[in-house]
């Protein structure tokens, strides 16, 4: 029999016992709905976390550090845990301006910038507050941390401006008995430890060598207290995590990258160079560089290229590999729980179709007498199971979508009452809709196997005798 005829007959047959078949279909719909609702929550949560990380500009960034021969106990185990592969054995290279230029020339690289992080003393009048200060590239303005900030982002890459974190702003404003918001537009002074390169002749042997102390001569530079006036232009809310991957930290104040670069602040790697006493004479190195690439998929290639250049790399993709594994397991578990309801519903299909065989025994005999083959009868029952499966699947997807919407609505309302911005924790991608429908159809067909085979095997003579 042709598929269109099978479907027509299946619909006709199902309409005959409308209530029973509707209830069976509803059972499948509930099963599919629980599956869709569970998975849409799992997917939604995963998407929410991915989205947040992506908006933080962390997925499309690679952190480049100079490779050192530092012994880091447990590093191998940590790498394994993070799903990171071991870096290739390449001689370490200097992370300096030349390396920065080379990295910027790699395919798909948008920008390469260093991160400066130092302790500064933000002074308002005669008093000050110590805090961590971090540099920010102009591209960070798209970071969701600046959504709803007080004031604005830096007016230009070289602007002598500063953005404060709320707690820091409150502490600083307290000095003059102000509200944090009143700091916007005020000038503050930022004190920091500056690095002053000593002239070559002062490093021993030269005519001016006697000007440098023995300690300074050993360092190659002197550390001086420096300061810069900055205008407060913005205040961001609490708990903001900026930074390059791997050095996630919280800072109380942020200055434009070009400004931070011009300050010649003493960095942690300066000390490492001094202790290592290896490349000191060759000039300043960066503590790290952040490479922003066009898209997350280009990150692995950039990482590999940087490793081949002799640097150590890290990206959040490494971290999310293990996170995705966790979500995959979570989705699987949610899927299994959701499928249980569908499995129970499939028993309803078996029951309905077995009942149909008993009720339509004579009809099956008539069909066979008129020329229906065993295959025709089997296909007819499969078609009925499929119709129930597809109808149940479609209804279930709609119900699951509705349940998800309700959970989303209730969660959003709850979060808002708690003073937390609402998040979208629910998502029904097209593949979930298609997958749920296909799964529902497959379960229905499996459930229809026994009744279909039993109907096909009916002896027509016996069936025609049945009253």
């Amino acid at each position: 029999m042709k598929l269109s005829d099978l479907n027509e007959l299946a619909w006709q047959n199902l309409r005959e016992a409308f209530l029973r078949n509707s209830l069976t279909t509803l059972g499948i719909a509930v099963g599919v709905a629980s599956l869709v609702a569970m998975l849409s929550l799992g997917i939604g949560l995963q998407d929410m976390i991915n989205r947040r990380l992506e908006r933080g500009g962390l997925f499309d960034s690679v952190l480049i550090r100079p490779r050192t021969n530092m012994v880091r106990p447990g590093r191998e185990a940590r790498d394994r845990l993070m799903g990171r592969e071991s870096e290739p054995v390449v001689a370490p290279s200097r992370l300096d301006d030349q390396a920065r230029r080379k990295l910027a020339q790699l395919p798909n690289v948008i920008e390469v910038y260093p991160e400066f992080r130092f302790t500064g003393d933000a002074r308002l009048g005669q008093e000050g507050r110590l805090t961590d200060v971090a540099s920010l590239p102009v591209s960070a303005s798209s970071n969701d941390a600046f959504e709803g900030m007080l004031g604005r982002f830096f007016s230009s890459p070289e602007a002598r401006e500063i953005i404060l974190q709320m707690e820091m702003a409150e502490s600083l404003a307290e000095i003059q008995g102000l509200q944090a918001a009143n700091l916007i537009g005020k000038r503050i002074v930022l004190r920091y430890a500056g690095r002053e390169q000593l002239p070559a002749e002062s490093l021993g042997g030269g005519p001016g060598g006697e000007n440098a102390s023995p300690d300074e001569a050993a360092l190659g530079f002197s550390i001086v207290s420096s300061e810069i006036p900055l205008q407060v232009v913005g205040i961001i809310s609490a708990e903001v995590v900026f930074s390059t991957p791997g050095t996630i930290g919280r800072s109380g104040a942020f200055v434009p990258l070009a400004v931070a670069e011009s300050l010649r602040v003493v960095q942690g790697n300066d000390m490492r160079e001094v202790v290592g006493n290896s490349i000191m004479s060759a000039g300043q190195q960066y503590a790290n560089l952040t490479v922003r690439v066009e898209r997350a998929s280009a990150v692995p290639a950039v990482q590999e290229a940087a490793q081949q250049m002799g640097f150590s790399t890290f990206s959040l993709l490494d971290f999310t590999r293990s996170m995705r594994r966790v979500f995959a397991i979570l989705d699987l578990l949610l899927g299994i729980f959701g499928s249980l309801a569908l499995a129970v519903a499939s028993l309803g299909i078996v029951n309905t179709l077995v009942m149909a065989i008993l009720e339509r025994r004579r009809e099956i005999g008539v069909l066979k007498a008129l020329g229906a083959s065993d295959r025709d009868v089997r296909q007819l029952f499969f078609a009925e199971a499929s119709v129930m499966g597809l109808a149940g699947g479609a209804t279930g997807v709609l119900m699951g979508w509705g349940i998800g919407r309700i959970i989303q609505f209730v969660t959003a309302a709850y979060l808002q009452r708690q003073g937390i911005p609402a998040e979208n924790i629910w998502m029904v991608p097209w593949w979930l809709v298609a997958g749920a429908m296909a799964f529902s159809l497959a379960v229905s067909l499996v459930a229809g196997m026994y009744p279909a085979s039993r109907a096909a095997r009916l002896d027509p003579v016996e069936a025609l005798r049945y009253q």
Binding site: K2, E16, V366, K368, A369, L370, G371, A372
Partner: protein, 236 residues
Amino acid sequence: MQSNGLAIRTDQLVRHYKMGEALIRAVDGVSLEIGAGEFVALLGSSGSGKSTLLNLLAGLDHPSAGTVEVLGKSLGAMNPLELSRHRNQTIGMVFQSFNLLPRMTVFENVELPLRLAETPRSERPPRVQEAIERVGLAARLKHRPGELSGGEQQRVAIARALVNRPRVLLADEPTGNLDSHTGEEILRLIAGINRPADGTAPTTVVMVTHERPLAEQFANRIITLADGRVAHEERL
């Protein structure tokens, strides 16, 4: 194709059933030849094996021994799919209790063998119309069986049996559920199918009945069965 003008030929046809310990000899060595275009009535008391023989000729039942040939083809040599085609294309069956599907309209009931034959959709309405006109029910196409009288239902069943233009019509007590007047009308219809007035090819009819007067009136041969064997045979 038929062999030597024969539509049906059976040779020592046997169908035994086991019911518990007892062996039921429903058909017990029946050999007969039915020519193309004949109208044969199978008579006999209840349990004489008439319906079993008819089921064997239709290929609905399988013989315990012996052979059945329809239009020169041995049913024993056919696989299940070929047997289905045989029932669909070569044979038309009419039952005592009509066996129409109650949820389908007259049109849909008659169309059913065409669906099974995978006849193109566009060809079906004229074929159904032709069959239904032959039984005189053209005005009732959209009615359901429950809205028809017994005689009308049997006419629909005959139209359904004819829609694939079979060469052999097997009727199992077609008048059994009808009053005598309607029964006679139905047999007149079957006789018309057996020998069409318009000169088109005759259809071989084998009819099971226990109404001898009607058989004598319409059939041209009566075969009487008793205890699964041919007890008597007479040409009219």
